[in-house]
């Protein structure tokens, strides 16, 4: 009755499922310039809005005169805080439980802060209007150093909450203090450190930087007054959360709000936050009755939306004489800028900084984080990072190096001695996480072998000899890094944002002819979801990936989810996809059983079909089953073939990796040249190796930028001095090396397909690898710690301080 069944292998290949380096379905559009990014949207009668921004970091706003601006040809309206106040929209809640001014309410607190919103025919007229708005400021003393925020006489920045003794995350000890967050056992850690054979102590600074996606933030708001429906297209990494927040603060019923994330030109955390521009474009559309577009320019983007890092991490690490780590202590001073707008799960005001014990079996640890207000932009987003894990990984990977120096031990060996062993998983860390799986020793050994570590150390020693003999001015640095990530936020029991649990979702509809559409609560910003999620599904339901359409980003059609950031799409939405696929398969099994006139249990799944056990010639393919579900009345089974899954992950996933960077460092010019980068990643089950490799290349390049020069720098008056791409360092193809990648595969035991997430690993592991290489080059000359970024002059300064220019 059925023709010959093609071999299993052949059918699996035809699916293009898990493990296939499937070419991306997105690319035909993007390579032809047919993407649809927010600034590409053009609606009939659309106006353009843009901001008057503060030139000062801290000033009182004495007056705003909009008269001249309103007279500028093409200008329709100028909105100020006074206009927003009756709507209670002059302030908005932040993701971190604080509030933030939408438009300057009496004062400004950082350079570039939004002061007034000018709405005009187009961006040219809007800019003409901006220049005509007259704002009178009275400058106030500025705080740019978080260590000076609580000194006597320090200006109070947040007058709105000056008297509030209790913040969103507990008691506040000073008007410029936001919170203090603790994790671990203080007494036990302090006593272990007090009694230890060896203690290394160091201040590790991870400087302020910015995700700087190539597309800036923006939105188009369109209020349809006839049907009362608000539609907002925007650069949203979490469209559903934006809808809920927009509803809560505007009072517009949630079903009357439609949020659409079109194609997004890179996010890297920049597009997680809710920004005044989004609010103002909505208000302006309501006020003018026309659609209103707002698009940041690059300077706005760097100055005002979403800085990252800025953690001062004071660390102590203790060990026995032979190098077994006994305790880790960390006190972090976190510069949060003028408003606490960090994008972290609610219960984690310092994100997952308490993953700072890293890949090591450290029995006792204690962490405390002080959040501080300064006159800088708000943000604190996870820049290609899962909520401060980049800071944590950098901290521990530097502290390991510092301890190795103190012990006089090779740091590779120190790592091996202290890695959590394979058999210890699931591993309970001293700061409360349960690591799901890992095999650190294998990955590490593979990495050391790949670069021929012993030989490299020999070469380095020879180079130092040559340097002392005056034959060369270049040193070799070998940067080691073994990181453990914590991604896939997260279990609803302890992870939420503004009260919304951090589950995610997938909805699948199989069409009668056996193709399908799946919709998810996430949103791709270049990760290739339309390609990879179809692969997950292909393997689950036996329909070729080519026959599955993926949709995300439209809240009217996609199921609710918390979006894409923190490497959560694969661990959470990917799991939802697999689970929804399994529901489809379960129903398909019932239908197949009916069609083949056997009991459900007499069937087994075989790649793309159900087969009668022991009778391989009797089967029904998914395609046949799909058609039957729409065409036949099957007793006890509803027509159609659809499923939905809302997945609440039982735990986070813990990808890891071993990275090694070999660098040449010129002590005279401070220039550095990357000679080799080896990156081994273990992200559990690999969905699409081509895309994984691409993610690793990209993340390493962002790490290279951050470690070697990328900095959001302020002068002492709070002026941003790296506000354009001339000064904000992004390497070109010329400065970027080729990377060698490798992998091990340790599946997550709790994820339906064992996948862990990879997008952020190379940034997390890359920064310490590059930074450690610089430190390592100067180690034998007495360097213990020098802050990033390691741009030319700072590297030169290291050499200078060590007397290498004498």
């Amino acid at each position: 009755m059925n023709e010959t069944i093609p071999p299993k292998e052949e059918r699996m290949t035809a699916l293009n499922g898990l493990g296939s380096s499937r070419k991306r379905v997105e690319d035909a559009r993007f390579t032809q310039g047919k993407g649809n990014y927010v600034d590409d949207i053009k609606l009939s009668g659309m106006l353009f809005g843009d901001f008057v921004r503060s030139p000062y970091a801290h000033a009182r706003v004495k007056s705003i005169n909009t008269e001249a601006a309103l007279a500028v040809p093409g200008v329709h309206a100028v909105i100020t805080a006074a206009d927003l106040e009756p709507l209670k929209l002059h302030w908005m809640p932040t993701l971190a439980g604080d509030v933030q001014m939408v438009l300057a309410d009496g004062k400004v607190l950082f350079q570039g802060q939004e002061v007034a919103f000018v709405v005009a025919d187009n961006r040219y007229a809007a800019d003409d209007g901006i220049k005509a708005v007259e704002v009178e400021y009275e400058e106030l003393p500025v705080i740019v150093d978080p260590f000076k925020a609580e000194l006597e006489g320090a200006p109070v920045l947040r007058e709105d909450i000056a008297d509030k003794k209790e913040g969103a995350h507990g008691p506040r000890r000073h008007p410029n203090h936001i919170f203090t967050w603790e994790s671990g056992d203080r007494d036990a850690t302090e006593s272990v450190i007090a009694e230890a054979d060896v203690v290394a102590e160091e201040m590790i600074y991870y400087h302020r930087t910015h995700p700087c996606p190539l597309e800036t933030c923006g939105s188009v708001a369109s209020m349809d007054k006839v049907n009362g429906k608000l539609t907002v297209w925007g650069t949203f990494q979490a469209p559903h959360a934006v809808r809920t927040v927009a509803s809560l603060i505007s009072g517009i019923a949630e079903h009357n709000i439609r949020i659409i994330s079109p194609d997004i030109g890179g996010g890297f955390g920049n597009k997680v936050g809710v920004y005044p521009g989004y609010i103002c474009s909505i208000v302006a559309s309501i006020v003018t009755g026309a659609p209103v577009k707002w698009i940041e320019d690059r300077m706005d983007n760097l100055m005002a939306t979403a800085f990252a890092r800025d953690y001062w991490m004071q660390g102590k690490i203790s060990a026995t004489k032979d190098g077994k780590i006994t305790g880790l202590w960390c006190h972090t001073t976190a510069d949060h800028g003028a408003f606490d707008a960090c994008a972290d799960p609610t219960k984690f005001p310092a994100g997952f900084m308490n993953i700072c014990t890293g890949s090591y079996d450290i029995p006792t640890a204690f962490l405390t984080v002080d959040g501080i207000y300064t006159n800088k932009a708000p943000g604190g987003v996870a820049y290609r990072c899962s909520f401060r894990v980049t800071e944590a990984a950098y901290f521990i990977e530097r502290m390991i190096e510092v301890l190795a120096i103190k012990l006089g031990m090779d740091s590779a060996e120190l790592r091996v001695k202290n890695f959590i062993r394979k058999e210890q998983f699931p591993y309970q860390s001293a700061l409360g996480w349960e690591y799901d799986s890992g095999d650190y020793h294998t990955a590490w050994e593979k990495a050391l072998t790949a670069v021929n570590y012993t030989k490299l150390r020999q070469e380095q020693a020879e180079r130092i000899e040559a340097f002392h003999r005056g034959e060369t001015r270049k040193l070799i640095g070998i940067g080691l890094s073994h990181f453990t990530e914590i991604v896939g936020a997260g279990p609803v029991k302890n992870c939420d944002i503004l009260g919304l649990g951090m589950f995610d979702s997938c909805e699948i509809r199989i069409h009668p002819t056996g193709s399908a559409i799946a919709r998810l609560g996430t949103i791709s910003q270049g990760q290739g979801h339309a390609t990879t999620f179809a692969q997950i599904l292909a393997s689950e339901i036996g329909i070729p990936a080519e026959d599955i359409t993926l949709e995300e980003g439209d809240t009217d059609t996609a199921p609710y989810g918390l979006g894409t950031y923190g490497s959560r799409s694969t661990p959470v939405a990917g799991a939802a996809t697999a689970m929804a696929g399994r529901k489809i398969r379960a129903k398909a099994q019932m239908i197949a059983a009916y069609l083949l006139e056997v009991h459900d249990n007499d069937l087994e799944w075989d790649v793309d079909r159900f087969v009668v056990k022991g009778a391989p010639e009797r089967f029904k393919t998914m395609k046949e089953i799909a058609f039957a579900s729409y065409s036949q009345a099957i007793p006890g089974v509803e027509p159609g073939l659809e499923a939905v899954s809302y997945y609440d992950p039982p735990n986070m996933t813990f990808p890891f990796g071993a990275y090694i960077c070999v660098m040449e460092v010129d002590v005279d010019t401070g220039t550095t040249e990357i000679r080799q980068v080896f990156a081994l990643d273990d992200c559990g089950t690999r969905i699409n190796p081509m895309i994984i490799e691409g993610q690793v290349h990209g993340g390493l390049t962002e790490a290279l930028a951050i470690a070697m020069g990328q900095e959001l720098a302020y002068d002492e008056l709070g002026n941003v001095i790296t506000g354009t791409l001339m000064d904000f360092f992004i390497p070109t193809a010329w400065e970027t090396p080729n990377y060698q990648t490798d992998y091990t595969e340790t599946p997550s035991p709790h994820h339906p397909i064992g996948a862990k997430g990879v997008g952020e690993s190379p940034n997390v592991g890359g920064v310490p690898a590059f930074s450690n290489a610089v430190h390592d080059a100067f180690k034998s000359f007495g360097l213990t710690q020098s802050h990033m970024p390691h741009d030319h002059w700072r590297v030169w300064k290291i050499a200078d301080r060590l007397g290498l220019h004498d």
Partner: protein, 284 residues
Amino acid sequence: MIPDNFEYHKPNSITGAISLLSEWGDDARVIAGGHSLIPVMKQRLTDISHLIDLKDIEELKGISISNGIVKIGAMTTQHELIQSEELAKTVPLIREASLQIADPQVRYLGTLGGNVANGDPANDMPGLMQTLNASYELKGPDGTRNVDAREFYEAAYFTAREDEEILSSISFAVPNGGYAYEKQKRKIGDYATAAAGVLIEVENNICKTASIALTNLSDTPVFCQNAVKILIGNKLDEPTIQEAVTACVDASEPVADVRGPVEFKKYVAGIIVRKAITNALARA
């Protein structure tokens, strides 16, 4: 980053351009490639209500080499400088320096005239033209005059050019001997942390002629008169070179910026000058 409105003029002769400049005075600016001017206009850091585009003026274009004199029209682009095989053969220094300016796209539009006339201390061509001892031809309502590149720069963005004058061409004698343009920068597209152009001619082991100028190490390019004196007439041994390098560093007056503090820039200036001298010497 939106520019203010302006009236746009595109004369097809130098005379036409000069009369527009005379007519509009302070309110007018000429535009060549525009990649320095337009970003500044976008930030509305300058008031320009009349923009005079020099693109259609044929007299401002072209490279000619005859009788040992190179003459380059002000509107010649960096891309054209790089592409000119004749120039690469006669004055390879130009190509070496041009390739270190900005990036490919910017070099297609960026012109030699714009680069030297703007008075931006970060631009590479002014230092290079001082190295070559070039002469700038300026045309104005009162006729034509020539100013040496070494005399042209007064302070950052202040030059010997009068408001109603146009820098029309650049001339210099084909140099003899070895050459080098060395530049340290953070990345492609960045200005120099320190850069130096060097020409050295050696005869019978003795330095016959020499020229050194620095880029972005003061508010104008720096022609290193003292260093040149140290080199000429001497055997270029290590102590002499060191003395010349020190003289160059002494002549520099860098300011601190995101590229680093003063002491770093001075140190790197020394390294870059030394490299340039060494390379030039090797080619001499």
